[in-house]
C-alpha cells in the first residue's frame, strides 16, 4: 500500500467539499427527493481507496458541515458518516478486489445505514427532516456508484 506521502489529501478535501456543495444545492422538490447522498458516496470511496488520506476525521468534519448547513441536531450526520467510513475502512482491502458493480451492493448497504442512523437520531430529537423518499436515495446512490468511483478514480493515482 502506498504510504503517507502519496496520500491524496487534497483530492479528498476537494471532492468531499464538492460533495457537500452538491448535497446542499437547492433543487426542485422532485429532484431533491431522488438526490443520493453525495457525501456518503465520496466518504465510502475514500474509505475504500485511500483510507489514510482523510481517515475518519474528514467524513466526520463533512458531517458537521452538513449538520450546520441543514441545521438540525449538530452531530447526527457526523456520527452516521463516521460510522460508514469506519465500516468501509475496515473492509477496504476486500472491497478493493471487487468489481464496481459488486461494490454497489456494499455502497447501497452503507448509504442505507447512513440514512438509518440519521433517521434514528431525527426521531430521537423530534425533528423529522425528510420524506419516505430517503429510503429510495441509497438505491440511486448505489446505481451511481460505478460512475462516481470512476470519476473519483481520476483524481488520484491508485495504489
Amino acid at each position: 500500500m502506498n504510504m503517507a506521502r502519496g496520500e491524496p489529501r487534497w483530492a479528498v478535501a476537494f471532492t468531499v467539499l464538492l460533495a457537500l456543495i452538491l448535497q446542499a444545492l437547492p433543487l426542485p422538490t422532485w429532484l431533491e427527493a431522488v438526490r443520493p447522498s453525495f457525501i456518503g458516496l465520496a466518504v465510502v470511496y475514500w474509505a475504500i481507496y485511500a483510507p489514510h488520506a482523510g481517515g475518519i476525521f474528514a467524513p466526520w468534519l463533512a458531517g458537521i458541515g452538513y449538520d450546520v448547513f441543514k441545521g438540525e441536531v449538530l452531530g447526527q450526520n457526523a456520527l452516521a458518516l463516521a460510522l460508514v467510513a469506519y465500516i468501509a475502512m475496515s473492509l477496504h482491502q476486500r472491497l478493493r478486489n471487487q468489481t464496481l458493480v459488486q461494490q454497489s451492493l456494499f455502497v447501497f448497504a452503507m448509504l442505507t445505514l447512513n440514512e438509518f442512523v440519521v433517521w434514528g437520531i431525527e426521531g430521537w430529537s423530534g425533528h423529522r427532516m425528510s420524506t419516505p423518499w430517503r429510503w429510495i436515495q441509497p438505491m440511486i446512490g448505489a446505481m451511481l456508484w460505478p460512475f462516481i468511483a470512476l470519476l473519483l478514480g481520476r483524481t488520484h493515482s491508485r495504489a
Binding site: V68, L74, G75, Y86, S90, F106, I121, T131
Partner: protein, 381 residues
C-alpha cells in the same frame, strides 16, 4: 454486504491508533455534541461561529439561482417593467388612501385611551434582509436571510413582509439567520380574528399556502374571509400584525372543534425581501413578556426553539377560567374583561396602561374554554 465484522484494522498496524479506536472517539464526540446541542447552552455559541464558516458555502450553493434571477431581471422587457411600475403606482395610491386618516385616527384613539399624546408606532426599528434561500418542504419551511447577529438580529425575532407575518428567527449566525416560517409544521402562532376578537393558535401545515386553527370550538365566531392578526400573547410578535385570511370553516356537529384553515397573507415563496422588526417595549401593543404573564415555569427555554413556545406560553395570558382538562381549546376569547377586538393593543401589558377600551362587543364568551395548553410539542413532527 454480508461481510461486516470481518477484516477489522489488522493490516493497518503501525499507523497510530486503529480505525476502531478513532471511530470510537469521533462517535463519542458526535454523541456529546448532539446531547449538548439538544440542551442548548455553550454549543449555541459554537454554532454561531460555525454558521459563519458555512455561510460562504450557502451563498455559493445559492449563487446559481441568484444569478438566474439577476439575469431575468436584467433582461426584463420594457413592457414588463412598465407594467410593474403601473401596478406599484396603483398600489401606492390605494395605500395612501388607506393611511390618509391615520393621523386623525391615532389622535382619536389616544383621546379614547385617556392619553395626552398619540402613541408612537409599536414597531420601533426595522431592518431589511434579503432572502438567500428558500426551503419549502412539508417538513421544513425555512428561509435563509443575509442578516445576522452582526446586524442586531436576535433569536425569536419577528420577521414580516409588507403583507403580513412571515415567521421568526430560528437560528442566527453572525451574517445570516434562519427564519422559521409560520407555515412550518413545527410552528404555532397565537392569533386573533380581527372581526370577532376570537383568539386561538394558528399552526403551520408544511404547505406554504395553509395554516390550521385546530383549537376553535364549534360555536365560536369565525367566518371565511376573516383576517387573523397576531394577538401579542406569545411574547414574540407585537399585537395586530396581519397573519392570514380564513379560507375554510367546517363545522362537523359530531366534533367539538371546528375545522378551520387559513392562507397566510405574506407571499411566502415570492418575497425576496423581508423585514426584521423591533417592537417598542412599553407599548400596549408590544408582545407580552413572559414575566408579565407569570407562568409558573417562567421561561424554561423560552426564547430559542422558536416554535411551540409561544403557543405554550400563551394560555397563561388568558386568565380565563379554571383550567379544566379539555384538551386543546382556544385559549382566551372567554374573559370578557380583557378582550378588546380591533382597535388597539389589548392583551399586551395587562397591568400598565390599557384603560379598558370600554364594553366590548364580546361575541363569544361561551362556556368556559380552558386555557388548555396545546402541548408545547404541539402537532410537531
Amino acid at each position: 454486504m454480508a461481510v461486516f465484522g470481518s477484516g477489522g484494522s489488522r493490516s493497518l498496524g503501525g499507523r497510530g491508533p486503529s480505525f476502531g479506536f478513532r471511530f470510537f472517539v469521533y462517535a463519542v464526540l458526535s454523541v456529546v455534541l448532539m446531547f449538548y446541542d439538544r440542551k442548548g447552552g455553550w454549543l449555541d455559541t459554537a454554532r454561531y461561529g460555525l454558521q459563519a464558516t458555512i455561510y460562504p458555502l450557502q451563498l455559493a450553493v445559492n449563487s446559481p439561482s441568484a444569478a438566474w434571477r439577476w439575469m431575468k431581471e436584467s433582461f426584463a422587457s420594457r413592457e414588463a417593467l412598465q407594467k410593474e411600475v403601473d401596478g406599484l403606482r396603483v398600489q401606492l395610491r390605494d395605500q395612501q388612501l388607506m393611511t390618509m386618516r391615520q393621523a386623525a385616527l391615532e389622535s382619536e384613539n389616544a383621546t379614547l385611551r385617556g392619553l395626552n399624546a398619540t402613541l408612537p408606532e409599536v414597531i420601533e426599528k426595522r431592518l431589511i434582509g434579503e432572502v438567500v434561500s428558500v426551503e419549502t418542504s412539508t417538513l421544513r419551511q425555512r428561509l435563509l436571510i443575509n442578516r445576522g447577529g452582526s446586524s442586531g438580529v436576535y433569536k425569536a425575532q419577528p420577521v414580516i413582509t409588507g403583507d403580513g407575518v412571515l415567521g421568526q428567527v430560528y437560528r442566527i449566525g453572525p451574517f445570516s439567520s434562519e427564519i422559521i416560517l409560520i407555515t412550518d409544521s413545527e410552528h404555532g402562532l397565537p392569533v386573533q380574528a380581527l372581526r370577532s376578537g376570537v383568539r386561538t393558535i394558528a399552526y403551520g401545515t408544511g404547505r406554504s399556502t395553509a395554516l390550521e386553527l385546530p383549537y376553535v370550538p364549534q360555536n365560536f365566531d369565525m367566518k371565511v374571509g376573516d383576517i387573523l392578526v397576531t394577538s401579542g400573547l406569545d411574547g414574540v410578535f407585537p399585537y395586530g400584525l396581519p397573519v392570514a385570511r380564513i379560507t375554510r370553516v367546517e363545522r362537523d356537529p359530531t366534533q367539538p372543534l371546528a375545522q378551520i384553515s387559513a392562507t397566510p397573507l405574506a407571499h411566502i415563496e415570492a418575497d425576496r425581501e423581508v423585514l426584521f422588526i423591533w417592537s417598542r417595549k412599553d407599548h400596549p401593543a408590544a408582545p407580552v413578556s413572559p414575566e408579565a404573564l407569570q407562568v409558573e415555569t417562567a421561561k424554561p427555554a423560552a426564547a430559542p426553539k422558536a416554535t411551540p413556545k409561544p403557543a405554550a406560553r400563551k394560555p397563561a395570558a388568558a386568565p380565563s377560567v379554571t383550567p379544566q382538562a379539555v384538551p386543546g381549546e382556544a385559549p382566551a376569547t372567554t374573559e370578557p374583561a380583557t378582550t378588546e377586538p380591533a382597535t388597539t393593543a389589548p392583551a399586551a401589558t395587562p397591568g400598565s396602561e390599557a384603560p379598558a377600551a370600554g364594553p366590548q362587543p364580546e361575541p363569544t364568551p361561551p362556556p368556559a374554554t380552558p386555557p388548555a395548553t396545546p402541548p408545547s410539542e404541539g402537532p410537531t413532527t
